[in-house]
């Protein structure tokens, strides 16, 4: 029987990506919803300012929380995007380009976000 159609060697990647989407999704359910609740609903943008953030980041809890959420959300979202790319982009060349872009965006934003959260030192700025 002729071996046919788009079959490629088995790879575990898709399975783990799939599993990660679900697990990170469940984690994000709590992380993101509580985040949205606190930052976008209970406290609207009229009360949120530098001070608010500074107070919040005084304890390591919220920093850890935000770091975790940042990583999960970015990886979840970008992997979701990868799925979508795989759906609509079929040439392997363009796929590679897109995946590279996604990786790059992921690295840059994860670095930016992480550095922001970890190195944030409100004391460096004179508080009112």
């Amino acid at each position: 029987m002729p071996e046919l159609s788009g079959s490629r060697p088995e790879s575990g990647l898709e399975l783990y990506a799939w599993l990660f989407m679900r697990l990170s999704g469940i984690a994000l359910l709590f992380l993101a919803l509580i985040h949205v609740l606190i930052m976008h609903v209970l406290h609207d943008v009229t009360v949120i300012d530098f001070q608010f953030v500074a107070r919040r980041y005084a304890t390591p809890f919220w920093r850890t929380y935000d770091i975790l959420m940042l990583w999960l959300a970015v990886l979840h979202g970008l992997n979701g995007l990868r799925t979508i790319i795989m759906d609509y982009v079929h040439s392997s060349g363009w796929r590679t380009v897109w995946v590279a872009v996604i990786l790059l965006v992921g690295l840059v934003f994860l670095a930016m976000g992480s550095v922001g959260i970890v190195t944030f030192q409100p004391g460096r700025f004179a508080l009112r």
Binding site: P2, E3, L4, S5, G6, S7, R8, P9, E10, S11, G12, L13, L15, Y16, R22, G25, I26, L28, L29, A32, L33, V36, H40, V41, D44, V45, T46, I48, D49, F50, Q51, V53, L70, A73, V74, G77, L78, G80, L81, I84, S92, V105, F109, M112, G113, V115, G116, I117, T119, F120, R124, F125, R128
Partner: protein
């Protein structure tokens, strides 16, 4: 063994199979190869799918939407490292009505995406739940409404003032 990478020869083989497939397509029937006339976005809205199709479409759109917001959000959060002047000036931007309305949409998107995501997880980890998938979809709609309506009202409180 699970593998993430393929050897060049495997890659080449996969490529050849793909060629073969194309070739077969051309061989089959010896007809002038007529491209699929569908394959356009219209496919998704003109097919009369049921709840599953629309849920999926929304899930995808909200996913992309939230992702875009997230990226912007990360960018602005990092601005905090530049000090209160920079950060608070940026927040001024967010206090524009357009952005505040957008925020409500964001909450809706996250909420829907989250609830529907949970529905998907339930079905994925417990395939027998496919039997009640319509009920689950209803549940998503109901829970969404129950949470979103008061939240939206609360968030749009400033409009009333």
């Amino acid at each position: 063994m699970v593998r993430f990478f393929f050897t060049p020869s495997e890659r080449k083989q996969a490529g050849r199979r793909k060629l073969e497939r194309l070739f077969r397509l051309r061989l089959a029937g010896n007809l002038p190869l007529r491209q699929r006339e569908m394959g356009k976005p219209t496919e998704y809205v003109t097919y009369r799918g049921k709840a599953g199709q629309w849920s999926w479409l929304l899930h995808r759109l909200t996913g992309i939407g939230v992702l875009l917001f997230l990226l912007v959000h990360i960018a602005d959060i990092t601005l905090i490292g530049w000090g209160p002047q920079v950060f608070d000036r940026l927040l001024f931007l967010y206090r524009q009505p357009v952005f505040r309305l957008g925020e409500v949409v964001l909450v809706a998107a996250v909420l829907y995406h989250a609830l529907n995501g949970i529905r998907l997880c339930i079905i994925d980890f417990w395939p027998a739940a496919t039997a009640i998938h319509k009920k689950l979809t209803c549940a998503v709609a109901v829970i969404f409404t129950v949470f979103f309506v008061p939240t939206a009202l609360y968030m749009l409180n400033w409009l009333m003032k």
